[in-house]
Amino acid sequence: MAIEDMYGRSDEEYYNGGYDDEYEDDYDHDPEPESDDDLSCGKAPSCRVIRKESLLAAQKEDLQRVVDLLSLKVHHARTLLIHYQWDVDKVFAIFVERGKEKLYAEAGVTLEEKAEKPASDPSIEVTCEICFEDFPAEQTTLMECDHRFCNDCWTEYFIVKINDGKSRRITCMAQKCKTICDEGKIRDLVTAKDPNLAEKFNRFILESYIEDNKRVKWCPSVPHCGNAIRVEDDEYCEVECACGKQFCFNCLCELHAPCSCVMWDLWLKKCDDEAPTVTWLSEKTKHCPKCHKIVEKDGGCNLVQCICGQPFCWLCGEATGLEHTWNSISGHTCGRYKESHLKSEDSVEDYWRLTHYYRRYKAHIDSLKIEASESKPKILDKVCSLEAKEFLQLKDFSWAMSGFYRLALSRRVVANSYPFAYHYFGDLFANEITKEERGIKQNLFEDQQQQLETNIERLSMFLEEPFANYPEDKLMETRMKIITLSTVTDDLCKKLYECIDSDLLVPLQQTTHTIARYRSKGVEKASEL
């Protein structure tokens, strides 16, 4: 009762007026389809999963487009695409702007102008310019650039290149010749000597589609699931592989929006799992030079005093007297005191900031984990027992799990908004925004963040309720709360993203910090090819 009261009253505060009616209306009818852009991405999947088996099929389309436009052989098309990183549009653009010659020359494609020379008498001897031995022509191989060497020399050379990881761009052996060797000829020669290596070569060639392609990346799952993901347009997005791994496509880290990849990287460096405690220990405690007890430093001053009474210089650890100013300890001249007094003030300040943001971030991440491991099964149980009961009106209980998924999604958003805030309102943009501006923006942001946070906690609270045992009218009420809170939370997430994008990042006119857009439905699952 008390809890209901508490939350009942704060309704107006967090529903931003109007919301109540609107959303109840929506949900009394069939849940309406979500926003337009969600619909459109339902139609054309924006990311695909590429499996070992579909790797060839995945690149066929790109290869075919190039083959068709330029009337090339497939292996030439592949050489072009490998060179131009599988950017078909770029290939076409260079073709139009700079011409066929340039396009081919840069990629190392040489077309045999003349039809394959009438096979000269296969018994005629030719000298291989590598080993200086004479061979009948049939024991030599001619590349498209018209350079001929003996099969042994070619084979040895290819083996070295493949083992060096250069399979995708093996140039001709002749001096200064930039032609990329015909993959078919490489395959035939290497197969004769080392079929396993030829197999590897085939795979390397196929995998160029993943390795050299901006739009395709290996799934970062460990152990590796063997899949790769291809995005159709935006590299800044969050995806889910068929193996279930969710990640940021751009930086391959865990989901971190609405924090940018750069900020996330900085954040990880600042505080991996133990960093705060480690930093705490290394920066906050030292041994007293007299009694060797651990002394904690809590404040800016670098003259500290142990409980035994011994004062000492924090920076060098030496015992000193108590007389000191900001710049010096009388009678003590380690030279570090003055120099780092200010610096250490800063680092203490930064330390407190980091702790502040880290604690909040961590609290949400911990809740997220607990909710997934403990609350989720409980909710499933509750739904089960509800389904076994007979109610007058209520038949469908999917709102409970929908509420749970909303909770998990928005938890992550609010958690990741802390590392964002740590950087944005810290030093990262110190030169771009004035202190006053920053203050205003911080208020705006924190207001959004707080609204979201409060509603998340309320949603969590209602999901925890033992609603499986409620009479129908009370159950109806809880259901309505959960549905409404889900919608409100979703909306607040959207607003927080908007605030970050249009109010905080856009005015900076930068391109370093791009944030994967918000999707109400959560991370997009990569669909099969």
């Binding site: 310019e129 590598i130 080993c131 200086f132 040895e156 050379y157 070295v160 052996m173 001096q175 200064k176």
Partner: protein, 157 residues
């Protein structure tokens, strides 16, 4: 191992046969070790190295010719792509642009070409690279000529 020996032996025979073919290059194989060679090359005309004779040391790896030989100047030379102290040479064909079709002889030719056409943008000798890059061609040439006289010419008297 066998392949590299065979190939070096062929190169050796070739050098003997064409001794007079390229008067600017004199390649000599170490008596006891076919993987060690030295070369004497003439400084190209119309360069500050003109009139000098420069000695190169070759160390050939067992994977030759799949791997490039290591070459360095034994004679001091003031050149943006040669390390002034060690004689190391910065030349693409001795690194990533190597191909087995190069021979010790043709590498010498490539080094002579490098002497005539320095690449100041990948300098191993920063002083000389800076002189060239800053457009001080005369300064560069007089330094290079001085070192050629000091180190690469037979002492008079």
């Amino acid at each position: 191992m066998q392949a590299s020996r065979a190939r070096l032996f062929k190169e050796y025979k070739e050098v003997q046969r064409e001794k007079t073919a390229d008067p600017d290059i004199q390649l000599v194989c170490d008596d006891s070790n076919i993987f060690k060679w030295t070369a004497l090359i003439k400084g190209p005309s119309e360069t500050p190295y003109d009139g000098g004779v420069f000695q190169l040391a070759f160390s050939v790896p067992e994977q030759y010719p799949l791997q490039p030989p290591q070459v360095r100047f034994l004679t001091k030379i003031f050149h943006p792509n040669v390390h002034f102290k060690t004689g190391e040479i910065c030349l693409d064909i001795l690194k990533n642009a190597w191909s087995p079709a190069w021979t010790l002889q043709s590498v010498c030719r490539a080094i002579i070409a490098l002497m005539a056409h320095p690449e100041p943008d990948s300098p191993l000798n920063c002083d000389s690279g800076n002189l060239l890059r800053s457009g001080d061609i005369r300064g560069f040439q007089s330094m290079a000529r001085m070192y050629t006289r000091l180190a690469a010419m037979p002492k008079k008297g």
